[in-house]
């Protein structure tokens, strides 16, 4: 019981700390850099085709490579 209480005492404030710190939440108005074309992994058509070919050869599967645009997460 003592161990359980110790874990609880250490973990619960930690959960609150995670909520406070929240380092990965990028707000919609902060996504200009993410929307840059440089963030689009499929911006090079030749490179994309090569990657798709390797994927097809190794996995016997194709498609489902992503969605259009870059990373602004609009819509």
């Amino acid at each position: 019981m003592k161990t359980f209480r110790l874990i609880l005492i250490l973990a619960v404030p930690g959960m609150g700390g995670c909520a406070t710190f929240n380092p990965v939440r990028v707000q919609p108005w902060q996504r200009e850099a993410l929307a840059d074309d440089a963030m689009n992994p499929g911006r090079d058509p030749v490179g994309r085709q090569m990657a798709e070919h390797i994927h097809f050869s190794r996995e016997a599967a194709s498609g489902g490579g992503g969605v259009g645009g870059s990373g602004c997460g609009c819509n």
Partner: protein, 167 residues
């Protein structure tokens, strides 16, 4: 109840309270829209007294925002004579991108710039673009996230008609 059984409950409650305090409260339907004071944003806000206002947050880097501007121009043409004011608030960081966008689309409605994104953060926009319809008393009556060609415009038209009909 012994102190042994009270402690976990107290700690969980404390964690939930800490979480609740950290969740940012965004502005929602029914709230008054926090129109910025003169000088808080770049550009002049049009006269909005007693009018239905549509505030749209946009950016030059947002694809759906580009698609939305021609639709907003149509809304402006159809509803401005009846009392609708459209205010497009740019949250662009880059001066050149902002200017190039306005040159390309030359909007017929008012555009202002929330350079530091303070208004966007205060409102807590849910996504890009974000559109707020505000009634004649300044209350937010409808919030729309995103812009989908062919689908969003009729929705906005219906809501605008409803608000314009109110006195």
């Amino acid at each position: 109840m012994s102190s042994r059984t009270k402690l976990p409950g107290f700690l969980v409650a404390a964690a939930l309270a800490a979480f609740a305090l950290t969740v940012r409260a965004s502005i929602k339907e029914g709230d008054l829209f926090p129109f910025p004071a003169p000088g808080a944003i770049s550009g002049a806000l049009p006269d909005i007294g007693g009018k239905v206002v549509m505030v749209d947050f946009w950016a030059s880097w947002c694809g759906p925002c580009r698609a939305s501007f021609p639709a907003y121009a149509r809304l402006q043409a159809d509803f401005a004579p009846r009392g609708l004011v459209i205010v497009a608030v740019s949250i662009d960081d880059t001066d050149a991108a902002y200017a190039a966008f306005l040159r390309k689309y030359s909007p017929s409605f008012a555009t202002v710039r929330d350079r530091g994104q303070n208004l966007a953060a205060l409102v807590g926009i849910p996504g890009m673009p974000a559109t707020y319809l505000i009634d004649r008393r300044g209350r937010i009556r409808f919030v729309h996230e995103g812009f989908h060609s062919g689908r969003t415009e009729p929705v906005l038209r219906g809501q605008i008609e409803k608000l314009l009909a109110e006195k």
